[in-house]
Point group: D3
Chain length 287, copies 6
């Protein structure tokens, strides 16, 4: 809260790994970002800017400081080497799951979700994924690559299969992607969260991984991201959605795609920090 | 979609003039702009930035690439010469109407709508105009000039008369303008699109010209325009309005008043491109 | 309305003090601002930028030019000396109240509201305060200081006591502040204006001071303020709230916390000017 | 010097017209600007920002406040009408020359120099022009127009002829322009002021009009102008040049082409204000 | 020169490959950039912004339009795959050298110079490299990678050996790099071009590859690059250096490391375009 | 050097207080800043951005990592309370001097130099001050206050008297200030460092305090400061000056007036970090 203090930890997340229930870590990787790069700067920028935030959430009536959360810092990912980077993230996720803790990852581009979900799926065979995004992320490959931020949910589908991925807020993709989803491979709610309550009802006994691509938010408050898409949800709609999901058994989560260098006004970063605080509440609250 | 490609045409509009159903052209003119100039840069900036957009619209479930649209480039308008500029635009509009195609113009300032509507009115005697804007644009003259972006709808009224102009989203003007409209000269729906469905019902047999001044949008997503007015409609509300209008027989349209140099974050330009894509869908869908 | 004119007065507020019903003045003070300073530049920037605004409000159907408002300029506040600055503001407020006029102050940081409310309370013993803000502003002290922008409403409570302060739009504060309010000391409506109509009904015979911290607005249109908090109200919601309050007997008001140097796009300043115009309408309308 | 004061006059130029030796006026016109418009905002922005400047020049050891300078405000130029605008400027210049005062004009685009030089030439038949600029400004016409910021010195040559125009700092133009100058029509010193001392020596008995296009400065300190050209002179080199010219009989001067909206950091505007202060010193000193 | 024209070619470089003496191509790769990414956007941005530049260089008294230059567009480099990207660049360079033309590459990060110099060295066994840069670029590896923008000249040294690399303007590196150079492996002129004339004299019979990392320029005019280093050379000093080098037999050249998204004012891009124009003159002039 | 690392210490300054020769500390105070506030953010921003800098200085051929420097963090200064803030700085300075170490302070506004110089003067009776600045800082009071950034050197003079203060680079002040200096109270070298070598010669047996207001630099590389003044020295000129002063017995130093929020491009902060590195070299080198 003082300006004389540069935080090494995200907002009030000062517990040791051992005692923690949740473990935050950063995955500063943007190696497949084709358009506006720079999500690699997100985790550290968010830690610094989390100073401006209170530890108390009036949305959840919870104070982060009363919970055990560890901020494990950032992975030191090999630059430009997609496979090794994904391997290191996988190892970190495995460590956390094996310790019976819940990982909360700060991206990085969306591809970093893949290894965490893989590990989650190893532990929870009936894992379902709730995915908030502007984009379908269902390409088979993008610019020739199978491992891309644009194909991450397709890669997840490769091992979870049909009826496991629930997508909300989607408003951009190719015709093929939308039609492939409609063929029953994923549940895709265009534009908003209108049917989220039904899905939450349906998934109430499942282990849930929550993946939030911040571009699900409208560019009016999230201009600092790789690819902005007009017509997104408002911050309050996103919070309401997170509160709905908090009724489920969330076993891991991520907040990805903040690109701080495109955030001239600082608003996007402040929004991202608050989204992460509410995700923390949703996970900690979850039991 | 590749970053190695500088588009000469707007998003997927690659047809020849001859075969096209719709013809896009740019009118890079801002000669009467009093406050923040620069709408002259809009058409070319929108072409470049349309790279970031998919050709598929999930709003209309239509893919632009499956239609015949020609992007005829920009008019080479004489600089600072209002009358000659308007004449050249008129000629282009006449050419398109005479070829039984539909013009879709990218402004420039709002005054560029005048010559296109004049030509439309010559061809369609019962033409009605649907006008989305923050401003009334009903001044008799502005800073001594009768031909001004602030008087464009008054100039249109000069030849179409009462009961032909339907204005939505209006939230700024002089008392005189609002009262003149209220006297029955135009239909003026303040602030939003609340009565648009009734108007669409009423106009269902009329030829419609759709003129969208982008400042109808809230400055939170459209800061890159000449005169921002707080309290505008959201992107989603505008899309809903365009979908409503798509039920009518749109014979021409324009999207005006993007001023790219005031768009620091790039969000306004991205919004403008998507608005144009949806307008294209609305016009192509229209039959 | 001409670009050749640098206004000394806010938008159409050209009356002499003697004849005025309302008196605008600026309190360019930001001496306790801990995070992003610069609200001291707000009053003069707002005067300059009010050129871009019409004097007619379509929300109230009122034209400012038809009323008697005096813009008394800015106080020449001693720099860095909190107590003397507050004293000078108090004196100005007393002068205005003693002349049976209504003060409308442009901040400056929120602490400047304190001396005006003190004077208002001297004149109107049953004064109630309607407070729009993102923050509770109910700290007992902040970084060791009792006189702080973060404690202004606690300081007001010190002399008005329980049941006098009505807070709306609040979405940030410590757990202690929220619980202290909940204990009945202030009326605190989180996030929005949902219960404002009931409160207006309840307060209809009371003298009202209206204090608007602009950060009650969402950062999407109000990035130019000291501490942005995601999830604010929209401009239209704020206007609706002001219209509701206009049914009460407003005896003074302020609009505070614009920080123009953080307003890259100019949108925040334009919004602040329009909010002030509508507050003027609400006050002038009030009887 | 106080932040509570919005100046109507440029820095310390508070004399009445009648008593003044020099008369400042603004010509907010940018109607022929093809690339980045907005010089119309320069005069008023410079007045506001001149607050940040001392009235004392350590370069000339002179204090502006000890001299009689009138700031006559801005001309209310008809928008978009080149000829009428030029006529109004001409009239203002004539008035000043007829009163035996010296005009110091703030542009606007460079074309505004033309009518002032025309009037100067009427009064001083042996008038010579010293011209600091990045560009030759010697086109016969530009985009079809004879009256253009790119042809202003060619238009001046039309009536003053050979051996009257002395150009310094020039680093951009067509091959034709450079060769036409080299044919003896103007004296053109490329890139810098290297031979200015010789020219000052040569012109010491002539009446001099000094025209400074601010883009003569390097873009590192003058990014806020219509067309930046790398490789310009430094601020100190420009001041040295102005001091050299101050040894001549300067009968009028202008400072043109500041475009404040492209000046994100405020540096260009601060530079322009200081250049104008030094030009004032040079003119007042001149006798 | 018209604003209605989006160039596909860099400034006046309109010749066919077959007839061209020089071939420009873009290498939009920034895959090893650790700090501020985005040089991949440089080639296309420079083409668009080259509109603002004249084809005539007053520095060389040459007009680009009078020469045969082909702009061969950008390579479609595989994203994130360093080795394949370098291979494609190598192939393009080979094609150009085999056709007895001279390549002029627009980066991209500095690593893209490596394959072109390799091909140059295959053709010209006594090839010398003149290298303008802020950084030594002599690391053995950087963050574990041998192929990095920070090690490019070390990789070049691997095959050209001692006495072939001449570095100027260098002002940042590790102690090890500076001392390794001093041991006689490269010729390293710190900070400026002071000894360039001697080196030019010494190399006058050698084939020369000229590699310009734009961060050799001072950040005051080149803020739009990956890693700015205060204390760089001025634009005029760089031009003088290029003119000196133009006396040599330049067989290929590159201009790298512009990062347009960090160039808020547009000055860096304008500077880069002019540097490329002068490099073209230096190469075309060279015989 | 890794992006995964948020430094708590300035560049390579990792020693413990006990073992250190120099002690860096931050004084984040801007309470008397009248124009553009925000220097309070400088120390922490500089620590973060010092990541981008090498520890090796090619100017001094010294590597910071080979010396014992402690970064003692920032003082937790009471907000808005000038006297207490100055007292705390004084105490920190005393502690450092009493431990026979040398303080190197990062401002904050220039007033923070006062208490450090007071303590230095207590220890070194014949202390001389070398002061690099754009401004005289010799006002008796400023806006009514004796303790102001604009009067700091006058306050120093109050206890050191004539012939102790040596000012360089000065280019702005009131006529009174310049004439007061000229009367022999301080040595004032306008605009540049032209006579610095003579002064260094003269002061070679004196203990020296070096105070660098970063606005001595030209705004082209130092736009991020409270009050920019065109015509400053270049970075290279400043480095040369620091190298000259390094021949003296520097017993303490400061670098003040960086205002990071006005540094859009990041260049000013990068410059400030490098200046601090060179100051460290000058002090460490000094014996």
């Amino acid at each position: 809260m003082s300006i004389n203090f540069l935080p090494k930890k995200f907002l009030g997340c000062e517990s040791e790994f051992k005692e923690a229930e949740c473990v935050i870590f950063g995955a500063p990787f943007d190696g497949t970002t084709t358009f506006r790069p720079g999500t690699r700067f997100a985790p550290q920028t968010m830690r610094v800017e989390s100073i401006g935030l209170e530890t108390y959430s009036p949305y959840f009536d919870m104070d982060i400081e009363e919970y055990k959360v560890c901020d494990n810092g950032d992975l030191d990912l090999p630059f430009g080497a997609v496979n090794s980077a994904l391997d290191m993230i996988k190892k970190e996720a495995k460590l956390i799951f094996d310790s019976n803790k819940k990982p909360i990852m700060i991206g990085g581009e969306h591809l970093v979700s893949l290894p965490v979900i893989e590990e989650a799926h190893k532990k929870y065979k009936d894992l379902c994924i709730i995915h908030f995004d502007a984009h379908t992320d269902l390409r088979e490959h993008y610019l020739g690559e199978k491992l891309s931020h644009s194909s991450v949910m397709k890669r997840v589908w490769d091992f979870v299969g049909d009826d496991r991925i629930y997508q909300f807020g989607i408003r951009s993709g190719t015709k093929e992607e939308f039609y492939w989803a409609k063929d029953g491979h994923t549940y895709l709610n265009k534009f908003n969260f209108n049917t989220l309550d039904e899905i939450v009802e349906k998934l109430k006994d499942k282990p849930i991984y929550l993946s939030i691509d911040l571009d699900v938010l409208d560019p009016s408050i999230m201009s600092g991201t790789g690819t902005t898409e007009a017509g997104g949800v408002s911050f309050n709609e996103l919070i309401e959605a997170i509160k709905l999901v908090s009724n489920l058994n969330i076993i891991g989560a991520d907040v990805v795609e903040l690109s701080p260098h495109y955030d001239n006004s600082g608003v996007s970063t402040a929004v991202a920090c608050k989204v992460l605080r509410e995700v923390l509440c949703a996970v900690l609250n979850d039991k």
